[in-house]
């Protein structure tokens, strides 16, 4: 029995900022104080507020320490854990108001969140199956196997309105129904989990796997029962070592407790799960390519139909759902379809996890009901754009999505609304951009990604994205004409219509959406040969205002290209001659500008 639990975040974010050292320091200090039988140190999954990592929470008080360093630990142990005095200077400042410490749930970041998929992340120890069981874990599987028919399970999932959280938003219940009913020949069927999270900036699936792996295992077993499958595969990228390790531990523990394997709960239902590690190819997140990869072949998509529900893995009926989709299933079974359908908008039910990144104060994971506006997410939960800069756009859906301009900030976010404004939900990456981001450059960044990751099977994607990238490159170098813009748009629609898989079909979206909302920026690049945000190097020129220059030579010493030299001109009132930049030699690194104390250097 422990009187206090100290939770230390062991997600990837906090681990990389040193949470393991925090745990070690805590354990040794607690032992030194002789409290090892009174205070438990628990490693949990992600709390979501990754920007403030490493994070440590002391219960029962619920004190939220942020950006903890190992050298703070002796003081926290001797003051807080021994004497009960909270060490305020290390506590997350949003929770401190005067002498009072507010619960973390009342801060701006957490107040508007509602956690379903992430409910256990940061609360339980993911490497201890009993902690999952304590939060009603495996109760849904028990209920399904002992009280419900497969048809009833599918009906509940259908009625809940759950849609695929991987991005496309296909109704999960429909998928299960097809896999159950379309082929009934008694042969094997498969349940797959897509944990090949590939969108730049998205990390919710990783956090679920790291923080609550059993939720995914339980849901896969439920899905197996519903469609009549006895084997599941989780396809997870090898770049997620912590997630892979915790999944392995979870699968082992589930076997030991008889929650996977033969005759689960004495119902006669057998279910087993294997891991398959992906080598990090973006295309393997596409369902048909993922299955091809599990089969042991090169990860390339195949045409649909036939859909996986009819002919999927090893040519057998297969369902494939995303990690976050599975993370909702057990809760829907336990709390009922009506509870889930009560959240969200008319066509998009439940909650959605977003990974906030880019120019935003609170980088991290947030889970909000569908229909929350982008403004609430960016400004209230995310804390807005830092350094007083102006919000320019939010990018959702990764390389398949688009940029949302400020005028659409008040659109309630759901699958259909995002499509209508030219973006898409995608897996839920949300990258915020400010006035310093060039939209042409952003489109180019995503196209560069798609070109790299195109599997090469179909021509529209293999060659089309490459040509698209070249056109964007031409624009950022100031060599394009207005005719190129039209040609580019035409090519976008061609790729959309003709690519083989979803990734190719959506690859032009970053270009189309920026063209739609930020055409003036494209025109500035093409006609005026200027980059308004000052990002595209070829269009920039650095100049020294010779009257402001004091001749201190700081810039010239910083310049790696030796492009800055002293002139003969001495400004009125100065003793030393001013400097000038030779634009032919200048590599536009900007080092001179940041080093000048007199703000004499400007870029255009």
């Amino acid at each position: 029995m422990y009187r206090s639990h100290v939770l230390v975040c062991g997600g990837t974010g906090c681990t990389s900022s040193g949470s393991q050292q925090i745990q070690d320091a805590l354990k040794s200090e607690i032992a030194k104080a002789g409290l090892e039988n009174e205070i438990a140190v628990v490693q949990t999954g992600c709390h979501g507020l990754c920007a403030l990592g490493p994070i440590m929470i002391v219960y029962p008080e619920g004190t939220f320490y942020s950006m903890v360093k190992p050298e703070y630990i002796p003081e926290i142990v001797s003051e807080h854990l021994v004497k009960g005095r909270v060490v305020k200077k290390y506590v997350y400042d949003e929770t401190v108001s005067g002498d009072e410490i507010k619960p973390i749930t009342e801060t701006d970041f957490y107040k508007k969140q509602y956690r379903v998929a992430l409910r256990n992340c940061g609360v339980i120890n993911p490497e201890n199956i009993e902690e999952y069981i304590a939060t009603d874990g495996y109760a849904a599987l028990g209920k399904v196997l002992t009280e419900m028919t497969p048809e009833q399970v599918i009906d509940v999932v259908l009625a809940s309105g759950l849609r695929g959280r991987g991005g496309a938003g296909f109704p999960t219940g429909r998928k299960w129904q097809m896999a159950r009913n379309l082929v009934q020949d008694g042969g094997p069927k498969y349940v797959c989990c897509n944990a090949d999270e590939g969108d730049p900036g998205a990390f919710m699936d990783r956090s679920v796997l790291e923080g609550d792996p059993h939720a995914v295992l339980e849901a896969m077993a439920i899905a197996g029962y519903a469609i009549g499958a006895n084997q599941g595969f989780i396809y997870v990228r090898a770049e997620y070592p912590i997630a892979v390790e915790r999944l392995q531990i979870a699968i082992k523990q589930a076997h030991e407790y008889g929650l996977l394997g033969k005759n689960i709960f004495g119902s006669g239902f057998d279910f087993d799960i294997d891991l398959r590690l992906g080598a990090g190819a973006f295309v393997c997140g596409e369902e048909t390519a993922l299955m091809t990869s599990i089969e042991g072949n090169r990860g390339e998509p195949r045409p649909r139909p036939p859909f996986p529900a009819v002919k999927g893995l090893f040519d057998r009926p297969t369902i494939l759902n995303n990690v976050e989709t599975y993370a909702n299933v057990a809760q829907i079974i336990l709390k009922g379809a009506d509870w889930f359908a009560g959240m969200g908008t008319e066509k998009s039910k439940g909650t959605k996890v977003f990974a906030l990144g880019g120019k935003i104060k609170n980088t991290g994971l947030v889970e909000v009901p569908m229909g929350t506006t982008l403004r609430e997410i960016v400004e209230e939960i995310g804390g807005g754009v830092p350094n007083g800069k102006k919000f320019k756009a939010a990018q959702t859906g990764g390389p398949s999505g688009g940029c949302i301009p400020p005028e659409h900030l008040d659109v309630p976010i759901d699958y259909d609304n995002l499509l209508a404004i030219g973006s898409m939900m995608g897996s839920g990456g949300l990258i915020v951009m400010d006035e310093d981001n060039c939209m042409v450059d952003i489109a180019k960044f995503f196209l560069e990604f798609t070109v790299d990751e195109s599997c090469g099977k179909c021509t529209p994607c293999r060659i089309g994205t490459k040509r698209l990238y070249e056109m964007l490159d031409k624009i950022t170098k100031g060599k394009a004409t207005l005719a190129d813009l039209d040609k580019m748009e035409e090519l976008c629609y061609y790729i959309k219509a003709n690519a083989l898989c979803g990734l190719g079909q959506t690859a032009p979206n970053p270009v189309l959406s920026t063209l739609r909302y930020f055409r003036d920026e494209y025109i500035a690049h093409v006609v005026d040969k200027k980059c308004p945000a000052g990002v595209c190097k070829s269009l920039l020129s650095f100049t020294i205002d010779q009257d402001k220059c004091k001749g201190c030579s700081m810039c010239a010493r910083q310049c790696a290209a030796n492009a800055i030299e002293r002139t003969d001109y001495i400004a009125p009132g100065n003793k030393l001659a001013s400097f000038a930049i030779d634009s032919a030699k200048c590599v536009k690194c900007g080092a001179c500008m940041s080093t000048c104390k007199f703000k004499a250097i400007s870029k255009q």
Partner: protein, 123 residues
């Protein structure tokens, strides 16, 4: 795992242990003063007795927490009970045995153990 009953047993066993991580649902806070004075007069044993009893007896909605010196050094170990909508109760000169009694009678039974309170000690 052969049956739902076994699952239920694990759940109940573990719920008591991780229950303290859900502070938001606690309507009662039992605060043990753990200044130097409190620790010297045995507050740690009182704190442990309280939290163990609360977990073992599955008393819902109660958080056992510690605080620093509350300036009643001559009465240490001191335990304060804050319940939503009720007046604060201060227990003084506590021992683990008294603590168990307080859990039994006050936190579970709802009856303040008046003989251990500051009011009766000050008389």
């Amino acid at each position: 795992m052969k049956s739902l009953a076994e699952l239920q047993a694990i759940r109940e066993k573990m719920q008591g242990q991780i229950g303290i991580r859900r502070e938001a649902q606690c309507s009662t806070r039992v605060v043990v003063a753990m200044g130097t004075c409190g620790i010297a007069s045995g507050a740690r044993a009182v704190l442990n007795a309280l939290s163990e009893a609360v977990i073992e007896k599955k008393v819902a909605g109660v958080a056992v927490v510690q605080t620093g010196c509350i300036d009643l050094c001559q009465y240490e170990p001191v335990v304060e009970v804050f319940a939503d909508g009720k007046e604060k109760v201060t227990y003084v000169n506590m021992t683990p045995e008294k603590a168990n009694e307080v859990v039994e009678k006050h936190l579970i039974g709802g009856q303040v153990v008046t003989e251990y309170t500051l009011a009766s000690a000050a008389k």
